[in-house]
């Protein structure tokens, strides 16, 4: 298959060029007799690499600033004294450089001899054997002998032998630190090149590592004295491991399995950043995931999830055989694919005969590929004959779809991630990038350290507000549920103080609508002073933030589910669009409106027509000309009426008119609000088909279980938050027998569809043929370019990094009046606190994947963050079991006292099913899209002895529902 061949071109050149690329005017110099022209500011080392000459090096790496400590990269420059380090020496016009001569050879050999004199010579049994830069450099400089020996009878002066020849303990030797589950730190192999420390600072931005001691006593150290890697601030992103030139920091999987023999470039299946990775393999065994240097979303960086948390793919809980049961009280029965599919098909068709065409539907997955999602919505539209399709974007970014669609005419982020490198003022609202979108978080922090200003709008003091070497200029710690009031107040300041970009507005936006909007926001009731009591944001702080955003240069807004998951989620998105238009921050690098998407393919699942009112490409089903395209392609009639959204499906199920549901890769029982209502809806259905890796919570109510495949087991594409279509490549055969697109096809065919796709590339051809924004996309282009950002068509053959450059997709940008309407979920005497929810770095969504990896060492259960003041009033101490109750339900969990949350606000994550955070959340939802209001629930917290009756009953029911009968002999 072509998929395993990586074309040899500039992108696949993975040489380390030694120092970062620079931009500047051209400078010409001569290196070893070759003339080369490079941008001003480039190092001599990089210039040599550009000319194809590798100068030996140990402490340099092209993702880190030059450091100049190893002295191996010395060169001779005509007219200059000494032998300067090529990594720290910038090029100059007419410079004549010699990278090799006898003097340099001798110097380098001397340097290497010193390094090797303090390094164990166990290369043959070392985990880095064959993948060690120290080994490579010893070879490159021709080191043949090490003359330095410990003097007779004296103590050892090295770091690598635990005892000297007389059996005395060597005080310089330190044992291995194996505390991190994924990599080990072996100080005896360290050459103190500082690459790990610099990677932690410059790439990841955590500053967890340092060099302790001086001279011969210099050691890499995580955290403070007495800390190991796990106890330190280390976030296990893997940047240090990747930077390490020796086996000092080494993946445990490599120690266990050995070095990989091939690699395949693919895309991470966790968050919406969509990092590119090299899956490094031995046969069909995955040895490690290494972030891909030329990945355009991540630029060679990764986080703990994508880099290390892939063990779920081979976890023993994975279900590999199809299963069925007549009723959900029965145990599961393992059956053949044929039997499971015909059972499902017969049931679904039977339900349609009795209850009508619209009595069944599908939920597409934001974790599956574009091709798989396209097929699932095609299943309901072309085979079921209705539009009952929805996706988990309903519960996360559906307001983004509606809000940005109304304002700009298209439902997606306006920028690429590289754009952050050109931004001057960043607004982060309702998002926690360092936990939820860590690689973007690191790229943002890098830009902040370079001097960009940050405004955080969030009820909680997220890490970005203040952490190592970064600090937000303003933190507007608003009361949950008051986003619209704050956004409108920001606009009020900008308009009333005359800070808007009138030229931009006149040229690019509808001027009449702007007039209405300006009149609306100028009303004194929207001033920060008037809204302070409501929002809890000090007026002066809000004014200062508004002025900074309007006048500080390129302004970019990044937002997450803290914006969308509210009764006024869509209105907030419009408010964000208004702010960007007001300040002229659209249509060029460094600015824009950037929704941070939760799951790997939320963007793609929305693009592919997963919503019940839209065909692929965000075109309403009521439009006959759009239906015509699909009717032609599929040879069926398309229902012109919108279908049911997830919450509507559940309501209709309780009412008895919705009876069957095929759910691909989503756990609605755990992830959707008001668990008891979801359970009632599922229980009322007669055929629930769960297609997933594991028996998830929803499967407790399922009649058919179809085993799913992981992202490692299939071909396809994911579209990330920057609209980037990235390839997913199969590196091993599906353990369940079929890729997910094949399973959907089998189900469709069992219902008489007659589909015959043999490769996802054919599905992409169908997408391109029917969807204008994908018209230019095919697998050949993706092979050639690595990735493209839609729209990709005749007008933009190589894709579109920045949208709305010369005008908005809808024509004129539209200002929309954003009146604040308080949610009806209000605090009162019984429920005086506001609960808001979010994610943590080491876990992902409902945790189905990450809970089945070693990531649990960082977060083994969900905690309730509560302010010490609120805790004290209730007699709650850190680590106590507490009861968390709302109008909807109650649960128990462990309290964590912290001033990250304001008094009156409590916070938890929803990664663990036994916590049942969604028993608490309510049925309130966004006015336009029904996106649930997860972020605001009035609650009370009190001491508790342990799990509630519901939690215990739920655990027992789950255990019953997961029984599997032993297979027949």
């Amino acid at each position: 298959m072509k998929d395993f061949i990586i074309p040899w071109n500039e992108r696949s050149d993975e040489r380390d060029m030694g120092t970062p690329a620079k931009e500047g005017k051209p400078v010409t110099l001569t290196i070893d007799g070759f003339e080369i022209t490079v941008p001003e500011g480039t190092s001599v080392m990089r210039a040599a690499a550009e000319a194809g000459i590798q100068v030996p090096k140990l402490c340099a790496s092209d993702n880190l600033e030059a450091f100049g400590s190893c002295r191996l990269c010395a060169v001779e420059i005509e007219g200059r004294r000494g032998l300067p380090a090529s990594c720290t020496t910038p090029v100059a016009p007419g410079m004549v450089v010699q990278t090799q001569n006898e003097k340099l050879r001798k110097l380098r050999r001397g340097v290497m001899e010193l390094y090797i004199s303090d390094h164990p010579l166990d290369c043959l049994t070392c985990a880095a054997n064959g993948d060690c830069e120290l080994q490579d450099m010893a070879g490159a400089v021709g080191l043949r002998d090490v003359r330095y020996k410990a003097p007779e009878g004296a103590g050892l002066a090295n770091h690598f032998e635990a005892r000297d020849t007389s059996g005395q303990v060597n005080p310089e030797w330190l044992p291995k630190d194996d505390s991190n589950p994924y990599f080990s730190y072996d100080p005896s192999k360290c050459i103190v090149c500082n690459r790990c420390v610099r990677a932690c600072e410059e790439v990841q931005g955590t500053f967890a590592l340092t060099i302790e001691g001086r001279g011969f006593d210099s050691r890499v150290s995580a955290g403070g004295a007495g800390d190991d890697f796990l106890a330190s601030d280390c976030v296990s992103c893997g940047a240090c491991v990747q930077a390490c030139p020796t086996a000092t920091l080494q993946e445990k999987s490599v120690i266990e399995l050995g070095t990989p023999e091939r690699s395949v470039i693919t895309t991470c299946a966790y968050c919406g950043v969509g990092c590119s990775f090299k899956a490094e393999m031995q046969g069909d065994q995955l040895v490690r995931m290494v972030p891909y240097k030329h990945g355009k979303a991540n630029r060679g960086h990764s986080c703990v999830k994508g880099r290390f948390a892939y063990g779920y793919a081979t976890h023993k809980d994975r279900i590999l055989n199809p299963m069925i049961r007549e009723t959900i009280d029965e145990p599961w029965r393992e059956v053949s694919w044929d039997e499971a599919l015909s059972f499902a098909a017969t049931k679904l068709r039977g339900l349609q005969e009795v209850h009508g065409r619209r009595s069944i539907g599908v939920i597409t997955s934001s974790r599956c590929t574009n091709e798989e999602t396209f097929l699932v919505q095609k299943l309901t539209r072309a085979v079921f004959g209705n539009n009952n399709t929805d996706t988990c974007a309903r519960v996360c970014h559906s307001p983004t779809g509606y809000g940005l669609g109304q304002a700009f005419g298209t439902s997606a982020g306006t920028q690429d991630f590289d754009s952050v490198e050109k931004t001057d003022v960043v607004v982060v609202i309702g998002a926690n990038p360092t936990d939820g979108h860590p690689v973007f978080g690191s790229r943002l922090k890098k830009r902040l350290r370079e001097g960009a200003k940050l405004i955080v709008i969030d009820p909680r003091r997220i890490d970005l507000v203040k952490s190592a070497h970064i600090q937000a200029a303003h933190h507007l710690a608003l009361k949950p549920g008051t986003n619209v009031a704050v956004l409108t107040a920001l606009s009020h300041v900008i308009v009333t103080e005359g800070l808007m970009d009138e030229a931009f507005i006149r040229e690019r936006c509808d001027w009449d609508e702007f007039q209405d909007y300006a009149e609306f926001v100028s009303d004194p009731r929207h001033s920060p002073e008037a809204t302070e009591a409501l929002t809890g944001v000090p007026a002066a702080e809000l004014r200062a933030a508004a002025r900074l955003f309007a006048t500080g240069g390129n302004g970019a807004i990044y937002y997450g589910l803290g914006v969308t998951e509210h009764s006024q989620g869509s209105t907030s998105v419009m408010g964000i669009a208004n702010l960007a238009m007001l300040t002229g921050n659209l249509g060029r690098p460094g600015v824009g409106v950037n929704p941070l998407r939760g799951q790997n393919n939320v963007q793609g699942s929305c693009d592919m027509g997963s919503f019940p009112h839209e065909l692929p490409g965000y075109r309403h089903v009521k439009l006959p000309e759009v239906r015509e395209i699909f009717e032609q392609a599929w040879g069926v009639e398309i229902d012109p009426e919108p279908g049911l959204r997830i919450n509507n499906m559940l309501d209709a199920a309780v009412d008895g008119s919705f009876k069957g549901l095929y759910i691909q890769g989503e756990d609605i029982l755990q992830s959707d609000p008001d668990t008891k209502h979801v359970a009632a809806g599922l229980a009322a259905m007669e055929c629930v088909i769960v297609h997933d890796l594991f028996l998830n919570e929803t499967a407790n109510y399922a009649h058919v279980f179809l085993p799913g495949s992981t992202f490692l087991e299939k071909d396809g594409t994911f579209t990330n938050a920057e609209r980037r279509i990235n390839r997913v490549r199969k590196v091993m055969a599906p353990r369940n027998g079929y890729a997910d697109w094949e399973v959907t096809q089998l189900l469709a065919n069992a219902m008489g569809a007659g589909w015959n796709y043999t490769h996802p590339a054919q599905i992409m051809e169908e997408i391109a043929a029917t969807t204008p924004s994908f018209a230019g996309v095919d697998y050949a282009l993706l092979e050639e370019k690595g990735s493209v950002q839609w729209p990709c068509n005749e007008a933009h053959p190589e894709g579109t990094p920045v949208m709305h450059v010369d005008g908005f997709v809808r024509g004129k940008g539209r200002f929309i009046v954003t009146e604040y309407v308080a949610t009806d979920e209000k605090t009162g005497p019984r429920f005086p606190l506001l609960l808001t929810t979010g994610r943590i770095l080491s876990q992902y969504n409902v945790g189905a994947q990450t809970r089945r990896t070693e990531n649990v060492v960082w977060h083994e259960r969900d905690l309730l963050e509560i302010h010490p003041h609120d805790a004290e009033q209730r007699g709650i101490k850190d680590g106590d079991w507490v009861r968390l109750a709302s109008r909807t339900g109650e649960t128990t969990l462990i309290a964590k006292l912290t001033d990250r949350v304001s008094p009156g606000v409590v916070y938890t994550t929803f990664h663990h099913p036994d916590t049942q955070a969604n028993v608490i959340t309510t049925d309130f939802s966004d006015w336009a899209t029904n996106c649930p209001e997860y972020k605001v629930t009035a609650v009370q917290v009190g001491p508790s002895n342990g799990p509630t009756d519901w939690q215990e009953e739920y655990a027992a029911r789950t255990e019953r529902a997961r029984r599997i009968l032993p297979a027949a002999e």
Binding site: D516, D651, V654, V817, W927
Partner: protein, 71 residues
Amino acid sequence: MSPEKMVYMANQIATFFKTQPGEDVAARVAAHIHDFWEPRMRDQLCAHVDAGGAGLDPAVIAAVAELRAGA
């Protein structure tokens, strides 16, 4: 769907469009409901209006009239 929930959702839509400039609130509410509500939800809403429309914002009742005229 419970009548209370349906009434609540419809009124939320009306609340937004009532804040927008212009005279055509009922038409905009009707258009939103037409575009995003599945037929059985719209039928339930119409039936509720026929039964007196208890709890509904007048803009929703006007919108239902528009929906019917358009259908």
